[in-house]
Symmetry: C2
Subunit: 169 residues, 2 copies
DNA sequence: TTAATTCAGACAATAGATATCCGAATAATA
DNA sequence: TATTATTCGGATATCTATTGTCTGAATTAA
């Protein structure tokens, strides 16, 4: 049981996008450089975010990524589901239907107790992540960071952020 | 993000062990056959359970596995942790220390907000699983199963379950 | 129209999970 | 008490999913 590394990267990238001024975007390469991670793989995660409607992309010259929704409407679960897939981590293989005492399929319309317990636990996991939005994260960062670090961030952003073209996919 | 198939098998195996009469055990091969899964891999999961103190094993002739504790003291989280490892699924790689605006290690004593949110979500997951014991599962099974299925199970168990020798590791 | 710059999907390398085997240990039996 | 059959336990291959990389398609500004 492990969560893909891409989820971490995507979450940090989304948090950074939230920090840039309205109407501006960052290209994938800049996001990767900021976080010190391989650019192509970071791009892959960003593509997943776009597919899920979390980010908006502009192609061509002066293209890049920006958030597609207000920060308080994007949760960590949204990002996790976009990158790692929304499916359940525990997949019941119905082994209760196997072996000498196997149940018949028509008696297995309800999930087995074990699968149900895991489904419930995963729901609790999702609910917990869904309670944290990018806006929440931003608030905590501003509160907890050293002032000079915030300044460095803003300097870097204003140097790298390009005004995006109007049309965006 | 996926939970190992072995967790499912181990959980079902433990639930079955809970069903057998006091003082009797099942060998790994029988547990595998009951569930229609490869015996060596099932054995691997059972070994993990033994290492974690969930099952007791007897080697040699008439050996086998039995539960090491009362069923209400064994939770699904215990089994999951034994098989899949107790470590966190989300592993923070501290990418906030990378790149042009990377933080210095001495400013990173507290986990970052994203890692903290995932840790909290995983705690909710664990708590949910820890709330379900083998005894709970057994009660539900008895309530929900067809009588003839319960009968078949008990017949099979009494045919396969051997009295364990006294000494057990 | 051109050319630069970007995203997007297809393609290897690697780590982890899956499945298997053989040796060590134990207890019943002769 | 020695033997032997039977069992678990850890070390060993295979296979899938994740990680990482690449080249081509699309778009926009000049």
């Amino acid at each position: 049981m492990q969560i893909s590394k891409g989820v971490e990267w995507a979450a940090h990238a989304a948090a950074l996008l939230n920090g840039l001024p309205a109407g501006r975007g960052l290209k994938a390469e800049a996001l990767a450089r900021y976080h010190g991670v391989p650019a192509p793989y970071m791009a892959k995660q960003l593509q997943a975010l776009s597919k899920a409607g979390i980010t908006q992309t502009s192609r061509g010259a002066h293209g890049g990524y920006r958030l597609a929704k207000p920060a308080d409407e994007i949760t960590l679960w949204d990002i996790t589901a976009a990158v790692d897939g929304p499916g359940p981590a525990f997949r019941c293989t119905e082994i209760r239907q196997n072996g000498p005492c196997g149940l018949k399929p028509e008696d297995c319309k309800r999930p087995c107790q074990i699968a149900a317990a895991f489904a419930s636990a995963e729901q609790a996991f999702r609910d917990s992540l869904a309670a944290v939005s990018l806006a929440d994260l931003a608030g905590q960062v501003v509160r907890d960071s050293e002032p000079d670090h915030l300044l460095a961030m803003m300097n870097w952003l204003s140097a790298e952020a390009d005004p995006l073209s109007e049309k965006s996919a």
